[in-house]
């Protein structure tokens, strides 16, 4: 411990050996991953690939701005928003009853010690349903529904409704259980029904949080309804897919810009609403 004696700090990095060791270990771990993903970035620089890419990127400008195309873009943008809104509405229809069923705070039998066997099993089943609904990605639901109801927004709305129903239901139940349960339990102990206890005690204390989570999910639904268009559920995504397949760079660039603007707008709107609701 001669640090106090030494007149000047070490000129070399004291942790140099450790840094080199961790860096080389990381490279050794990343190597098999690169092999598995066929990661060969130099492929991007091969002459024919570079030419295709350059041609595609060059065709981004000028943006396509014929009236006809812009009208179509406007229509599809609205459809994207409408798909997200309708999907989240249906998800609420699914999520609200299920989350009420799943909430442990609203159990009458749990007021005095343990919950009864029947309600406990029911709550567990509802929770499992919500988790299964949530864990299947909306894109997979959409692929399945496109097969059943055909191409178009119905498949997208149903996909959003199921996945988001699961997400909202699970998070609603968690939010309702997170706070102080005293008021709710007092009401129920004094003979109020469970729905009354929910409306007059549980809901008022969590309303802001529930509403702001719903708005946040609506914002996410707008983003994912664009993605759903890629499997044929209509909206901006489907147009983007079509334009990309035809290598029409101008259309792709316009659609991407519109999409970025839409996401930014939804982001602002959701931030503002959440601030107002809080």
């Amino acid at each position: 411990m001669s640090a106090s004696v030494s007149p000047k700090p070490p000129a070399r990095d004291p942790a140099f050996a450790a840094r080199v060791f961790w860096l080389s270990l990381a490279l050794v771990v990343l190597w098999p991953l690169g092999v598995a993903t066929e990661f060969r970035p130099w492929v991007l620089w091969e002459p024919d690939n570079r030419k295709v890419t350059a041609d595609f990127v060059r065709s981004f400008w000028p943006l396509v701005h014929t009236t006809e195309f812009l009208q179509m873009v406007l229509r599809e943008t609205w459809r994207t928003v409408a798909m997200a809104t309708a999907g989240v509405t249906l998800a609420l229809v699914l999520a609200v009853p299920l989350s009420l069923l799943a909430t442990r705070v609203l159990s009458l039998s749990a007021l005095s010690g343990r919950m009864d066997r029947g309600p406990a099993v029911l709550r567990w089943c509802v929770r499992a349903t919500l988790i299964v609904l949530r864990s299947i990605p909306e894109l997979i639901w959409a692929l399945v529904f496109v097969r059943v109801v055909g191409l178009g927004p119905t498949a997208g709305v149903l996909a959003i409704a199921l996945t988001y129903g699961g997400m909202l239901g699970k998070v609603y139940a968690e939010i309702l259980e997170s706070g102080e349960a005293h008021a709710t339990q007092t009401l129920m102990r004094n003979g109020s029904g469970r729905l009354q206890a929910f409306v007059y005690a549980l809901l008022p204390s969590h309303a802001a949080e529930l509403a702001s989570y719903t708005v946040y999910r609506w914002e996410c639904a707008i983003r994912s309804s664009v993605v759903l268009g890629f499997v044929g559920a209509g909206g901006l995504g489907q147009q983007l897919d079509n334009s990309m397949k035809m290598f029409n760079g101008g259309e792709v660039a316009t659609l991407l810009l519109v999409f970025i603007a839409l996401v930014a707008l939804a982001d602002r709107m959701s931030a503002w609403l959440r601030k107002v609701l809080a």
């Binding site: 991953l33 993903t37 990661f39 309708a86 178009g152």
Partner: protein
């Protein structure tokens, strides 16, 4: 309601409350919400008949019945296992690249000291927002043109989208760090690069790691479906067999996907519980 004065000639409780006051923000908000919802349902003209009819129920039943029995021949299970490994590798490599790229972009995107002019801050933040606004799947579809079909396009797509997300989170973490250690070095005349390496980075590193791990968890889920546009992993296998109506094989792939997502969820839940206890 609040507009009534307490000293009003009529006691306020005797007046009926206005149902829709011009100053009631909640009323306007509810009305706007209703209009939005109704307009959405009306303009989409959803095809309920095709879905809620007996005919549709029957076709749905037939569709589900075709899934059984799932194909569990060793050859195919091997193929699915390889695709699952590919998905996992895509997500890990994509996240690792995104962490490096995100850190590289977060430095110009943050104001590390009060003297820092940070004139690159807004343009870099715009770039990060653009990277973040375009979903992984759209990036993958775009990258297919230059990288070709296969997992590399998916990996790059994950890397680009995630670097937008991580870059923004990293920049905010670095701006919120206490400036004391950095200022101490700076007054000694140490250059900005070494201030960053020895003062800023060590302080934010744990937070950066936890953001990266969180995004990795998200990316495993994203990588599983990314292949639907042809960018490798389980998704590519799924869209291939679904397109050819190999329903038994599709069932196996779907089961593998669900198993993977469930494992990731369970692991992350256990890790979170272990860390917060």
């Amino acid at each position: 309601m609040t507009s009534f004065a307490r000293e009003a000639a009529n006691p306020p409780y005797k007046l009926p409350p206005p149902i829709f006051g011009a100053r009631c923000r909640a009323c306007w908000f509810t009305a706007a919400l209703l209009v939005l919802v109704v307009a959405s349902f009306v303009s989409l003209n959803l095809d309920w008949a095709a879905f809620a009819s007996v005919e549709a129920a029957r076709s749905m039943g037939r569709f589900v019945a075709e899934f059984f029995p799932p194909d569990v021949s060793p050859v195919f299970v091997n193929k699915v296992a390889w695709a699952a490994w590919e998905t996992l590798a895509m997500s890990a490599l994509g996240t690792a690249m995104a962490a490096v790229l995100g850190l590289a972009l977060a430095v110009p995107a943050s104001r590390l000291s009060t003297q820092d002019p940070a004139w690159l801050r807004s343009p870099t933040r715009w770039l990060l927002n653009a990277l973040r606004a375009i979903p992984e799947l759209v990036w993958a579809a775009l990258l297919l043109i230059s990288a070709g079909l296969g997992p590399m396009a998916g990996t790059l797509a994950l890397a680009l989208h995630t670097s937008g997300v991580l870059g923004r989170l990293f920049a905010e973490a670095m701006e919120n760090v206490p400036t004391g250690p950095g200022d101490a070095l700076r007054t000694q005349g140490v250059g900005p690069l070494r201030v960053f390496a020895y003062a800023t980075l060590p302080q934010v590193l744990p937070q950066l790691m936890s953001y990266t791990l969180y995004r990795w968890e998200n990316n495993i889920r994203a990588a599983a479906v990314l292949g639907v546009v042809g960018a490798g992993g389980l998704g590519q296998l799924l869209s291939f067999h679904m397109g050819l109506f190999h329903m038994n094989k599709t069932a196996t792939i779907l089961a593998a996907m669900l198993l993977m997502v469930a494992c990731v969820d369970a692991l992350s839940f256990a890790a979170r519980r272990g860390l917060t206890r």
